[in-house]
């Protein structure tokens, strides 16, 4: 476990982990958005990799992926982007969010080496469930990377127990069925699920999928150790697209005030 994860684990805040898409709308914007997020109090960062077939993602992140693809962003460049983030002073853990096919094509070993060298802290593969992840799990430990596990309200109890006891970095609790995206309501029984996850997890439990307002976020404080916001932030980036390309300073300022409006008051 590296220092960045230690700091993440040791924090007593309600941990904020934003998701943004690499290369959306351009590489430099991704760097500045990442730094802005850290300045706004992010405890870790998920960096998505553009993919032609993102079957766990909703329309907002699909569109972000299309923008990233248009920039020729790919897995290798995303990993290398992390070393630039480190050069620019980013201190929080960075998790690469990539579909498995991209990993396979780059080569798992090549990816792991590159990731370790670039200051990546973890990897999250939404279409690589526990049952298929044995090899990658082992290789990640060898390279000081956390393979982030996801659990869902549909995950069976015995599996939840096992995932919790083996989890690295944080345990990603999917708040609702379906793909990523903004939601107005959450399912009944979600609290029980989060409670069970917390009980069984050796790492912080973060809730994600569908959170888009301060009110929604605050409702999970107590039942979880942190939260992930993806689509809401990516949607804001989409709104700011042209400014992020041509008038970046202004855009980053707007972005930061949006992030501040989103976060629970006490987590800043």
């Amino acid at each position: 476990m590296n220092k960045r994860w230690e700091a993440f684990h040791d924090s007593s805040d309600y941990r904020f982990t934003p998701y943004i898409m690499a290369g959306d709308p351009c590489e430099e914007a991704t760097i500045e958005l990442s730094l802005a997020l850290e300045q706004c109090g992010a405890h870790a960062l998920e960096l998505g990799v553009p993919y032609s077939d993102p079957l766990a993602d909703g329309p907002v992140i699909q569109r972000a992926g299309m923008r990233g693809l248009a920039q020729n962003m790919n897995l290798e460049k995303t990993v290398k982007l992390v070393s630039k983030l480190r050069e620019r002073g980013l201190k929080i853990p960075v998790i690469i969010f990539t579909y498995y096919n991209l990993l396979l094509q780059l080569g798992e070993n090549r990816f792991l080496k590159l990731a370790e060298d670039s200051g990546v802290d973890g990897v999250l593969v939404p279409d690589l469930p526990y049952e298929e992840s044995g090899y990658l799990q082992k290789m990640c430990s060898d390279h000081n990377l956390a393979l982030i596990s996801l659990v869902s309200p549909t995950t069976r109890e015995e599996k939840l127990v096992r995932l919790g006891s083996e989890a690295e970095g944080f345990l990603y609790c999917i708040s609702s069925l379906g793909v990523t995206g903004i939601r107005n309501e959450f399912r009944a029984g979600l609290d029980d699920f989060l409670k069970a996850a917390k009980q069984n997890s050796r790492v912080p439990v973060l809730v994600g999928f569908g959170l888009s307002t301060r009110e929604q976020i605050q409702q999970f404080d107590g039942s979880s150790d942190g939260f992930i916001v993806g689509s809401a932030i990516v949607k804001k980036i989409e709104e700011l697209e042209s400014d992020l390309l041509t008038n970046r300073e202004e855009a980053i300022k707007t972005f930061k005030s949006y992030i501040e409006s989103l976060l629970p008051v006490y987590s800043r």
Binding site: L55, L69, N101, L104, Q105, P129, E131, L150, S152, V179
Partner: protein, 392 residues
């Protein structure tokens, strides 16, 4: 859940329990004599099975060499082998107490089959279809609606089959608790490839016994089937894989495998994950899945069933690719010599079987799976004849 390195369940955690539940229900169902009898009975009295094995006398004679036999999946209800699998999965859905099915479709053939069984067994049905395909296949869209299905327009990605499948999976992830995902080909996460093979192997078993009956107990000298996702082929090959029968899978070479316009997944693809399964697929060096091309809407899929990837790697099955032009020529020959208008998909298998038969002895026999009828392709054929565009 593996065929060598291929197969697996590369899906979000949310639906893992559903795959387990499905596998358990499926394994139990196929052990149940009643379920199997029901399935066989529905195939017989609803879809008209057994489909005949027709000897193509005039075609064989004009071609020279071995005799060609046609396994007539085109005579099934709704016009193709697709219904075998749709009936099987729908019966399983009913057995599991599911009231909703979802399905993906490209040109609309599987969508029609899914909507058909949904109507027959009283299930609600949503069919995911790319916006581009909806535009091109308005007749099938209308048919699905007539059958009571809801057709959901998919506007993501390239707006075709690949994206419709992504979207169906997304919907399944969201509605997994009460929804049965009826996959149309021998693809997808395990146990789908196994299940689809199980429901399609009736093609091969019927063929074997029909062939033995007319050929005094001997086996065919070659068996040929087209391969998109590969469900008709895997069903046709099933009983022969363990026997000493040469098997040929025929992919779509489109404008030629040397061009970018083809769907020859095994000839030109590489290992990767698509729609929940590790298999061969057409992709960029960076892992972006590319849009395949074939004149036949049922073959232009960038992946292939994982068992085919395995049969290819182990060389048990020989996979060849046939161009648009060769397929069209074979379609016409079959039409003129046998009075059978086959699907463009099946025409690929016919084209290769003609090449194959030519170099075989007169006393040998090639069996081709005629996976579907060509009524659906008449517009495409007309446009091709007129040199027009492929879209209307």
């Amino acid at each position: 859940g593996r065929y060598g390195v291929f197969g697996g369940k590369y899906v979000p955690e949310t639906i893992m329990f559903a795959l387990e539940e499905l596998e358990a229900a499926f394994d139990e169902a196929i052990q149940d004599r009643e379920f199997n009898e029901l399935f066989q009975r529905e195939l017989a009295i609803y879809s008209g099975r057994p489909t005949p094995l027709t000897k193509a006398d005039r075609l064989s004679e004009s071609n020279g060499g071995a005799s060609i036999y046609l396994k007539r999946e085109d005579l099934n209800h709704t016009g193709a082998h697709k219904i075998n699998n749709a009936i099987g999965q729908a019966l399983l859905a009913v057995r599991m107490g599911k009231k909703k099915i979802i399905a993906e479709t490209g040109a609309g053939q599987h969508g029609v089959a899914a909507a058909t069984v949904a109507a027959k067994y009283g299930l609600s049905c949503k069919v995911y279809m790319g916006k581009e395909d909806i535009r091109r296949q308005s007749l099938n869209v209308f048919r699905m609606k007539l059958l009571g299905a809801e057709v959901i327009e998919v506007t993501s990605g390239s707006q075709t089959l690949k994206d419709a499948t992504n979207e169906a999976i997304r919907e399944w992830v969201a509605a997994v608790e009460d929804t049965f995902y009826l996959i149309g080909s021998a693809v997808g996460p395990y146990p789908y490839p196994k299940m689809v093979k199980q429901f399609q192997q009736v093609i091969g078993y019927e063929t074997e016994s029909q062939f033995k009956e007319v050929q005094q107990g001997k086996l065919p000298d070659a068996v040929v089937a087209c391969v998109g996702g590969g469900s008709n082929a895997i069903g046709m090959f099933a009983p022969f894989i363990e026997k000493d029968v040469p098997l040929y899978g025929v992919e779509a070479a489109g404008m030629g495998v040397e061009t970018a316009q083809h769907a020859a997944t095994l000839s030109k693809g590489s290992n990767g994950v698509i729609h929940g399964s590790l298999t061969k697929l057409l992709q960029t060096s960076e892992g972006q899945i590319t849009e395949p091309y074939s004149i036949s809407a049922g073959l232009d899929y960038p992946g292939i069933g994982p068992e085919h990837a395995y049969l290819h790697e182990t060389k048990r099955v020989t996979y060849e690719a046939v161009t648009d032009e060769e397929a069209l020529h074979a379609l016409k020959l079959l039409c003129e010599n046998e009075g059978i208008l086959c699907a463009l998909e099946s025409a690929h298998a016919v084209a290769y079987s003609l090449k194959l038969a030519k170099n075989m002895r007169k006393d040998q026999q090639v069996v081709v799976c005629l996976s579907g009828r060509g009524d659906k392709d008449v517009h495409t054929l007309m446009d091709f004849e007129e040199g027009g565009n492929k879209d209307e």
